[in-house]
């Protein structure tokens, strides 16, 4: 067992864990934040994407012990004071989700991507989503949502987040 302390959405979670415990299980089972989903075994689907020390990360491809002392933002940490983050708002407005299972990963990938590239082309958005699989939307409205979110974020001030 190893002592691990990880700050998630501004709250420190400390626990003794087996070294083999995956970060995604730490987030879901130890911190009790179940917004981050698991969709595959092989790091393809991106449903488990979170922001780890400022960068999008597939939390199924990290051990919790590797992340001791790290700062994580999950989908639960995006909205501030009841205000949805512009990306959340955009996914809602543009019907960027159906079953909702891939959605947290899509949103967190978009979160990092739009920080790197606030004014992306359609092609750049599609390229940024290569690590995220959606089976419901055909990605059509996800791309539209990210385009719209970029617009919202360029226009207004996005909510500050712990990982900023």
């Amino acid at each position: 067992m190893a002592r691990v302390s990880i700050r998630i959405n501004g709250v420190v979670h400390e626990a003794d864990v087996e070294p083999r415990l995956l970060l995604v299980h730490f987030i879901r089972e130890v911190a009790g934040l179940t917004g981050t989903n698991i969709g595959c075994d092989t790091s393809q689907c991106g449903a488990c994407t979170v922001i780890l020390n400022g960068r999008a990360a597939k939390s199924c491809t990290f051990l919790a012990v590797q992340c001791d002392g790290s700062e994580i933002l999950t989908v639960e940490g995006l909205a501030k004071d009841g205000q949805l983050h512009p990306i959340q708002q955009a996914f809602w407005e543009k019907h960027g989700l159906q079953c909702g299972y891939c959605t947290p990963g899509m949103i967190m990938t978009a979160y990092h991507f739009l920080q790197m590239n606030p004014n992306p082309t359609e092609e750049q958005i599609r390229h940024a989503l290569e690590g995220n699989i959606c089976r419901c939307t055909g990605y059509h409205n996800i791309v539209k949502a990210i385009q719209y979110a970029a617009e919202l974020m360029r226009g207004g001030a996005p909510a500050a987040t712990p990982a900023d």
């Binding site: 190893a2 991106g46 390229h127």
Partner: protein, 287 residues
């Protein structure tokens, strides 16, 4: 899926890491983990211990040293892709890095992990081969430099000795008159290379002074396509000579196919086509 149990070590100095490796000869080194952790989850590998290099300062970073770009083993794809030094001195590396894995993988996968893993479909092994890089490693016997041509020994096997740690990669700055390109045919699911070709061409008076062509995806480990290189060397650079050289690219290579997506025969064909395209693009980029 769920990894089997293992001991976890997170040394904070390289010396400490080497000592842990000495005491745990079956241990695996954990860098970015983006190849190792999926393998652990599927229990394709069940090492008794992991030695995480993340806590060792100084293993990540990019600097210019004479005519070499020195990239620390723990440097991520993201850092390479966004590095001005890389864009300026080895632009093909920045361009090609955008084709590696996906956004999340590029954020966390490392150059050292990629090379030490010697994945037969990895991108960096072929790119570094074509660029003529060198690998620096530290082990019980001290430090040594391994020319990249001697580094990839087989599928998931490199010239690294037990207990040795890859510390940095030294990439020669692209000399004047040189152009380079990486052309990748990605697998639709994994986004690994079905075939990837990296070509680096140096031109003098419209004659090919040197060509380095490296293949990934089609062979058990990344390999130089020496027949194509030799065919081009000393030749004028034009579509005919490039085509002729590309036709010879598979010569001497043991090309391996799979039963679902791309057979040996098709990959052999792709090696030719992509070599031609990579050489053509490389020549266009000569500056």
């Amino acid at each position: 899926m769920f990894p089997a149990t293992f001991e976890y070590y997170a040394p904070t100095t390289l010396e400490e890491a080497l000592e842990v490796l000495r005491q745990n000869p079956e241990a695996k080194i954990l860098a970015g983990g983006h190849s190792l952790i999926p393998a652990l989850k599927l229990r394709l590998t069940t090492p008794p211990a992991l030695v995480d290099l993340r806590r060792i300062p100084g293993l990540a970073g990019i600097r210019l040293e004479g005519d070499h770009l020195v990239i620390g083993a723990m440097t991520t794809y993201y850092d390479i892709q966004t590095s001005d030094l890389v864009r300026q001195h080895v632009p093909v590396l920045a361009e090609a890095t955008d084709l590696v894995g996906d956004l999340q993988v590029r954020n966390w996968g490392t150059v050292g992990g990629s090379l030490a893993h010697s994945d037969p479909a990895g991108d960096y092994p072929a790119i570094m081969l074509a660029l003529g890089a060198e690998v620096r490693a530290r082990g019980p016997q001290g430090e040594r430099t391994i020319p990249i041509d001697q580094f990839f020994v087989g599928m998931f096997t490199t010239a690294l000795q037990p207990g040795e740690v890859l510390t940095e990669v030294r990439v020669p700055v692209m000399p004047p008159g040189t152009g380079a390109a990486y052309v990748k045919f990605p697998h639709p699911a994994s986004r690994y290379a079905v075939v990837g070709i990296c070509a680096v061409v140096t031109r003098e008076d419209n004659i090919c002074r040197q060509a380095r062509v490296a293949v990934t995806g089609a062979t058990l480990q990344a390999t130089r396509a020496t027949a194509a290189e030799q065919a081009l060397q000393g030749q004028p650079l034009n579509p005919d000579t490039i085509r002729a050289a590309a036709e010879r690219a598979p010569e001497g290579l043991t090309i391996v196919g799979d039963r679902v997506f791309a057979s040996e025969e098709y990959r052999t064909h792709l090696v030719r086509v992509l070599t031609r395209r990579a050489l053509t693009a490389a020549v266009e980029k000569i500056r």
